[in-house]
Symmetry: C2
Subunit: 317 residues, 2 copies
Amino acid sequence: MYLAEIDKELHAIALPKGPVNLYEPFRYMLDLGGKRIRPALTLMGHTLFNTDHKKAMPAALCIELFHNFSLIHDDIMDKAPLRRGKPTVHTKWNETIGILSGDVMLVNTYKMLADHYSGDVLSQLMKIYTATAIEVCEGQQMDMDFESRNDVTVEQYEQMISLKTSVLLGCALKMGAITGGATNGDANHLYEFGKNIGIAFQLRDDYLDVFGDPAKTGKQPGGDILAGKKTFLMIECRSLANAVDKQKLDALIQTNANNKVNATLELLKKYKVDELTQAEVTRFQTLAMEHLANVQVANEKKKSLVALADYLLNREH
Amino acid sequence: MYLAEIDKELHAIALPKGPVNLYEPFRYMLDLGGKRIRPALTLMGHTLFNTDHKKAMPAALCIELFHNFSLIHDDIMDKAPLRRGKPTVHTKWNETIGILSGDVMLVNTYKMLADHYSGDVLSQLMKIYTATAIEVCEGQQMDMDFESRNDVTVEQYEQMISLKTSVLLGCALKMGAITGGATNGDANHLYEFGKNIGIAFQLRDDYLDVFGDPAKTGKQPGGDILAGKKTFLMIECRSLANAVDKQKLDALIQTNANNKVNATLELLKKYKVDELTQAEVTRFQTLAMEHLANVQVANEKKKSLVALADYLLNREH
């Protein structure tokens, strides 16, 4: 999965010495670590078509820098004090430094591409990456808009998670396919594979928060319910509920009563939202695997991608 | 100067309908207007080498979008309530929307390039634009760092204004030269012309704030002095002052006494800072004109650039 190599390459990115208030937060954020799934996808996408994964490394780093940029700015917007157990950039420094170090990190994603690719490959990388970066901003705005609405539909919620998080997985794979010299058709099937795995992953995340085993997730069960978050489960439940239950659910989202989690759980189970959510995860997973099957390379080469999808969608935490 | 055409093209940029909280601020910022000097420079740089200025329009719009992105984020960092007499984006909406609409505008600068250029031209545009965008972030950080220091040297101050504002003028011209098919040598001379005009412009700005004719500038005389800003004049004065006057100056920067402006003016005149600043403006202007003279095209074609430089450096407001 190249994780050690990706970490090494991230650490080796040459940054100017100053201004220190710009580049120390940049370095700090990268050194906080992470699963590095997105850059790994880029390298794995590449090696389906070309054995030299190093050719995809700058594109992989571009995607990981983008992910980290979005975390810095999202943490400011969400007023989050911690990230991976450590103070967020705007907490350790201040919001101004968070905004600006995020900005310079975003520009550096393009530096990665401009410094290492040219010609048609650069054009193609720029197009998919730029379109995706715009979509991620749109998804983040939709997410914030949804906080003050209670009429969000299941379709709108799925579009939001697709834009906010899933398209970046598709983009990561497609960029690897481009540097690997894939056909447009193969590159697009890989993109759809990544995007649908991403949606399935996010829906499963919503599921695990409520129905996961706390001993395995390590999280307070029903944390999303307590926080009044409108996850897929809540939206699906609200769309199915009768008028009385709908009113109950709306009241529960706003309350801080002791029985908040249990009462909500009761409603979710009454409308079989647990089963429906698992079915929706399976639907997107199936869609993803169909796209992967359509990529015109030997199944043998797809094994690591199948394993990664399996890992992402069967994890218990 | 193409201003009407640039405004028309900016207005014609196709934006998605939603999320409205992302794209209304984007449109609002562009519609606030502005002198459009940067995109005009790109078109003028282009027409030195190629008659069809429309080929440079996407690069010109890229630069203007970048300028507007930086204004949105800078206004948040500076807590500025007004921009061109209207509420700033984060005031009219909120900081979160300001951060995110700025982000999506920054990504759209690259969309302009990716959608309209390819091959070697795209590579060259990406390189100079990305390097410049990074420098602008560095300059903004230096500017913020300088606020809490009183040991900034004249050289450091000039480097800061060069990065924060002047390199973007050089970059605007160079991008036009690139789309126009200029040689590297000519493109770089144009870059240096723009950068040095930019530094001269900024130093003159500092000068006019104190020594300009209020009837012409329309500003309160000594506004920078009142605000305790460490402009070129203050830094130059401090570097020349004897120990007693240095102490006086440091005290004046911090005070809100009635005689703040007059007492500071007295010190500035004692050390001839007015004359020295004008000499520094002339020094950078001369440097700029030498670079323009080295661009290998007929003088006839350079007339509009000479006129623009003249306008920028002789304005009284």
